[in-house]
Each structure stands twice: as C-alpha cells, then as structure tokens.
C-alpha cells in the first residue's frame, strides 16, 4: 500500500501564487479525478509534485509513504514511485525511444533489465498500446503526433510501474480511437493496484477511466469533492457555479 499526501500545498510561479492550499490524499487502488477550468492550477499541481524547476513550493507538504517528496530531486521522486504523464511531453533530439526507456527502467528498477525479457516486455506493452515497433527507433517525442506522444507517456507508465501516477490532461488532443487505446492502457496499469491522480478539464476521459473520487479545482485549491456523480453534474452544468463560464463536456 502506498499513500501520496498533499497537505496545504502553496506554489508560486515567478512570485505569483498559483496553488493556495491544496489538501489531497491518494492511496493505492484509488483513482482521483481533478477537474477544473483553464487556469485553475491543475497542471501546476501535477508539475509541482514532479518537481518542475519553474514552480516554487512556498509552503505545505507532499509526502509519499511518509517521505518528504519536496526534498527529493526530480529523479529521486520518480525512483520513489511517482510518475507524471505530461500534457506536453518534451522532445529529446538524438535519443531513441528504446535507449530512453531502457535507461529509465534501469534507473527506476535499480538494475538493468535483462535484455531478452526486456525486449519482450517492451514489445508487449507497445502492442497493447497499438504502437508500431519502428516507434522504438525514433527520437524521444521528436515529430510525434499528439496521439503518439500520449501513447508514449502511457508506455512509460506501464514499464516503470509507479506507485502513484499523475496523468495531466492525458486526454487532450486525442481523437476517440486514441482516447480509447490510451485509456485502456491506463486501466491495465491501474488494475495492478497503483494510485492514480487524473487531471482533466473534460469529463470525456472519465467514461473510460472510472474515478473513485472527483475533486473540483478552482483558483488554486480544491473547492468541492465527491464521488463519480460529481463528474456527471459537471458534465451537465459545466464550471459555472464555481464562477467560470466553461463547459466540462465536449460541445
């Protein structure tokens, strides 16, 4: 069992406060959806937990199984069991996907995976995500379509087997087919019992990935929490009652 505890988290970007006291606990086996309008700070929460250098934690705590995440370097957080599927994955020219995946798996697992089982493991995971084998020889995220980038993120999640995964707008930019493939990929990893924090603007992805808890994020904090039924309410009424005139359902 693992537990990610976010306690009264305040985060600023260039001295501008973005997160204004976030409290949330995600445990193994649970899926939490964070929903909110644009600019509410959802992505800031994701990046802050992962340790993005642009974000400054001004107060509060993030604990993974009691360990202080905020004192860890970015790579230490990943090795401790946190994973962030990014909304905008970064291109790394000249570094092949296969080399990147193996280097990451070696770092997270603490030893190089045995080559034969590793190749099989990667091939299986890629097949499940309906990715062509030639993909492994391409450079990380270079020239990837939106759908390819998201599949690649979930491929990493499947191979790195985190304790807690944070999915930042994983549904953005995906057509229906890609959304299904990516969601099924996420569900396969979820079934292994990890904790999942799913950040999304739209309710669309929640048809594929069923949350146990839904939190509405607004102006840098969680303003309402509930079960899956809260998503239905947002689907019907959007974010109007939180003061943002944005729909949560795809129009």
């Amino acid at each position: 069992m693992s537990k990610l505890e976010i306690r009264d988290l305040h985060v600023a970007v260039d001295d501008t406060p973005i997160l204004k006291g976030v409290d949330l606990t995600v445990e193994s086996g649970q899926t939490h959806a964070i929903m909110g309008p644009n600019g509410s700070g959802k992505s800031t929460l994701a990046y802050s937990i992962a340790g993005h250098p642009k974000y400054t934690v001004t107060s509060g705590q993030v604990l993974l199984d009691g360990q202080n995440v905020l004192e860890m370097a970015v790579d230490e957080r990943a090795r401790a069991g946190l994973f962030l599927a990014m909304q905008y994955p970064v291109e790394v020219p000249g570094v092949s996907v296969s080399n990147f995946l193996r280097t990451a798996a070696t770092a997270v697992r603490g030893e190089a995976p045995k080559l034969r089982t590793w190749v099989k493991e990667v091939n299986t995971a890629m097949t499940e995500l309906e990715m062509d084998k030639a993909f492994a020889e391409r450079n990380v995220n270079e020239g990837f379509s939106g759908g390819e980038k998201k599949r690649h993120e979930i491929l990493q999640m499947a191979l790195l087997k985190p304790k807690i995964a944070i999915l930042d707008e994983t549904d953005s930019g995906l057509d229906v087919d890609a959304l299904r493939v990516v969601s099924e990929g996420v569900n396969r990893v979820r079934e292994t019992g990890i904790g999942t924090l799913l950040i999304t603007h739209y309710t669309r992805i929640l048809r594929y990935i069923k949350p146990d808890f839904v939190h509405v994020f607004f102006d840098g904090r969680i303003v309402e929490s509930g079960g899956a039924e809260l998503a239905n309410e947002l689907e019907a009424h959007g974010y109007a009652r939180y003061g943002a005139n944005e729909p949560a359902a795809v129009q």
Partner: protein, 381 residues
Amino acid sequence: MTALLNKTGSPAERFTSRNPDDFAVPTGREEEWRFSPLRKLRPLFQPFVSQDSFRFETELPAGVTLTMVGRDHELVGTALTPADRVSALAAANVGQVVLVTIAAEAQLSEPVTLRSIGKPGLNYGHFVIDARAFSSATVVMDHLGEATVAANVEVLVGDGANLTLVSVQDWDAEAVHVAAHAARLSRDARYTHIAVNLGGAVVRLNPTVTYAGPGASAELYGLSFAGEGQHQESRLYVDHSVPQCSSHVVYKSVLDGDTSRTVWIGDVRIRPAAVATTTYELNRNLLLTDGARADSVPNLEIETGEIAGAGHASATGRFDDLQLFYLQSRGIPEDEARRLVVRGFFADVINHITVPELHDRLMATIDARLGGTPAGAEEDS
C-alpha cells in the same frame, strides 16, 4: 601578387597563392585569424624544417595503394591552392607527399586508415587522396599523441566515385594542428567529410569543396568537444561553380570548460553558373559552462536566381532545462540525463561514421569526457 589577379571583388572570393610570401604574418586583426589563438600558432607562421616527429601507421585494403611522392607530383596542387600563410608554408616546405590511390571501380568494404601518432616537434604534412572513377571508400585520418602540425590534404573524388573522409583529432592535450582539407569533386561524385575534434590545444581545420563537374554532392559534418583550454576552429568553404550540385553541412560543438572555445565559419558561395544548386548548413553549439565561448558565422552568397534551395541555421545555447526535467522525471539521474542529451546532440553527426570500431571508440571517448557510460547505451550504438 599574381593571385590577386584571380580576385573578383566578391567578399566570398578567397585570396589563394602558392607563394607563402603573398600572405603577411597574421597579426590577429585579419578576418581569417581574428578568432584564433595566435600565440600558440606562431611557430607555424615561419618556415621550418619538418622534424617528422610522427609514427605513421596505415591499414590499406585491397584496391588501395600508398606511395610517397615529391611536391612536384602532377596531382599535388590540383585540389588545393593555399588560402593562408600556414597552408602555403606547409605546401612549399613539406618534404614528401603521401599519395593514396583508390583504384577505379574499387568497392572497399574496409576503411583505409592513416594513423599519425605524434611526438612533440614541428611538422609539415601533405596528403593526396585520389579516389578514382566509380570507386567507393572510407578513409580515416586518425591523429593521436602530441605534435605541432601544419598540413594540407587534397582529396580528388573522381566521376561517380563515393568517398568518405573521416578526420579524427584525438590528440593529447598540447597538440597544435592546423590543416586545410581541400576536395575537388568530379561529375556525379559523392563526398562526405567528417571532422571529429576531441583533443589538442588548438585544432584549426579548413575543409573546402570545389566542384569540377555537375551532379556532385558534398556532405560536411563536424563534431567538436572543447574542454578546458581547448580551441577548436572549423572554417568551411563550399564553392558552387557548376550546375546541379549540392552541399549539406552539419557542425555541432559542445563546450564544457570555462576557457573552451569553438569557432565555426560556414562560407558557401553559389556562382552564377551554379544553377539548380541545393545547399544547407547548420551549426549548433551547446555551452555547458559559463565562460565558454562559441563563435558561429554562417555566410551564404548566392549569385544566381536559379538555385534549387539554400539555407543556413545557427544556434548556440545551454542545456534545455525541460529536456533534463523530462528525463529526470523518469528516474534518470541528472548527470546521466546530461550525458544522454549530449550524446543525442552529437548523434546526427557521429551516426554518419559507419566504421563500427571507430564509432564505438569515439562514443566511448565522449562518454568518458562526460563522466561515465549511460546505462542502456549498449543496444543503441
């Protein structure tokens, strides 16, 4: 000053001459010397008697002959007329010329290796590589040890021939190496020049390409890894004078010392006759420390409206924080992430080296300079 008569007045026109006295001793104010550390180059500005402080090793596959010839050999001077004082002094005073002939239609599966292992001393060198019609070969000039060298390398790529010349500057720390690499491409010739600058105090290479027939293509790649106190200068000149030819230039530098210095000059000239030319040049420099300096001067001069395509790009920057964040967010420690990024940065140059042992040796040298071998690298070479 007979060579002056050849001048057209264009800034891209080079002054060339076989007479060293036509070139004044550089002061450092000249455009072609202003980036260079003249103090270390000064011994090369006056004539000397070459001390030949080299051990010369060769690997010559079938189809290749190597002979030592005099300066008066008919091929000497066919691709190269000196464009600076150091080159002119070397051409005028070198004792012997190494002539490497690749037989017509020979298809070499193994590389030709010309390995120079230096000891301290002043040296002149002159090579002529004659790749005859429809031959296909890779020539590796490997420079090791320590020496002070002024050299000229002439490359003749015959009709339909395909020649790759890899020049590896893997010198010990104190070496000084100034060389002109002049290639003359015949009809439909393909030429790939790859300069790898790793060692030495000063390495200053002038790769030039001229075209003697239509349909020829040149690819010029360069990798410089300048550490503390190293100066690595690449001065390219591609002279398009006939139709339907192409040139493609990719030079990349990494600077990892406070006093590291790289210079890249990319001159491309497309003369009026050179219609349907395609040319592109790219220079990227990655600064890993604060004091390092990379100069980058692309210069494209187009004298005909009927080119197929021409462009250049140059950028100098630091590590991309987002790339490092992304790699680290997957558990990869920062130092390893940096190595991955640098390896990736060099990949589109070094992957053109198709000699496996050399490719692996150079990657190992680069990895060692970066402080280790990335895990998982073994399957990606």
